[in-house]
């Protein structure tokens, strides 16, 4: 009984880490997206949509840097996994922590769904909610210094509780 329980726990941990991955530095986009495609192409999902975020060269930055608070990111992602499951879909995500230079990728999100319309709507909601709620902080790298991108950041719902 105890061994079964441990196996279940192990399965949960492995399952979560497979669908949400954090990388040090830029994302190996080809490896990640190919792996997802190979893993899910035979699962009878009619639609697999991948969104790849690439760092733009603008405002004199040489790149971006990211801090992540993983416990709440995991909770947020699990809520999305549940929401997708209710639609017979799954969500996948990879994100960088640390520095990512211009023209490299820091973020990939994907949805696999039996239905095209569900996949298109879900990827939109998933990416937008990610931008508004996922506990990740962005810094511009300019002249090797990091500056918090406050003016591009979004307050999380309920912000200001302690003021």
């Amino acid at each position: 009984m105890e061994i079964k329980y441990l196996c279940f726990l192990l399965y949960v941990v492995v399952d979560m880490s497979e669908n949400l991955k954090i990388y040090d530095g830029d994302l190996p986009v080809n490896d990640i997206t190919n792996k997802w495609y190979e893993e899910f192409k035979n699962s009878n999902y009619g639609a697999i949509i991948t969104f790849v975020g690439v760092v733009r060269d603008e405002n004199n930055i040489s790149g971006l840097s990211f801090d992540i608070y993983e416990p709440i990111l995991n909770n947020w992602f699990n809520t999305w996994q549940q929401k997708a499951k209710e639609l017979n879909a799954i969500v996948l995500m990879a994100h960088s922590k640390g520095d990512v230079l211009n023209h490299q990728s820091s973020y990939i999100a994907a949805v696999c769904s039996p239905k095209r319309r569900v996949a298109l709507e879900l990827i939109d909601e998933f990416v937008e909610d990610f931008k508004a709620s996922a506990p990740i902080w962005k810094y511009d790298i300019i002249n090797n210094e990091k500056k918090y991108a406050l003016n591009r950041s979004t307050k999380i719902n309920g912000a200001g509780l302690l003021k």
């Binding site: 996922a134 810094y139 979004t154 999380i156 719902n157 509780l161 302690l162 003021k163």
Partner: protein
């Protein structure tokens, strides 16, 4: 004791305080003028769950996190 941690760009070491709810935490933190802008724009989590009630009770061993505005991607 309750552990308070300041996430992301809030450059402040975590601290331990003796408090019973978030109201009491607010009264302590507003004494620090450098923190006031962060108090206005940060969300609050207790034991990694976001909370919306300032009367949220706190117990010995709880962890409170301040989450400033986010921008992943």
């Amino acid at each position: 004791m309750v552990k308070i941690e300041f996430l992301g760009p809030i450059k402040k070491e975590s601290m331990q305080v003796e408090i019973n709810n978030l109201n009491e935490l607010s009264e302590i933190l507003i004494q620090d003028s450098e923190l006031i802008p962060w108090l206005e724009n940060s969300a609050v989590a207790v034991n990694d769950i976001l909370v919306a009630n300032k009367n949220h009770p706190l117990e010995n061993g709880d962890k409170v996190s301040l989450l400033p505005p986010v921008c992943g991607g």
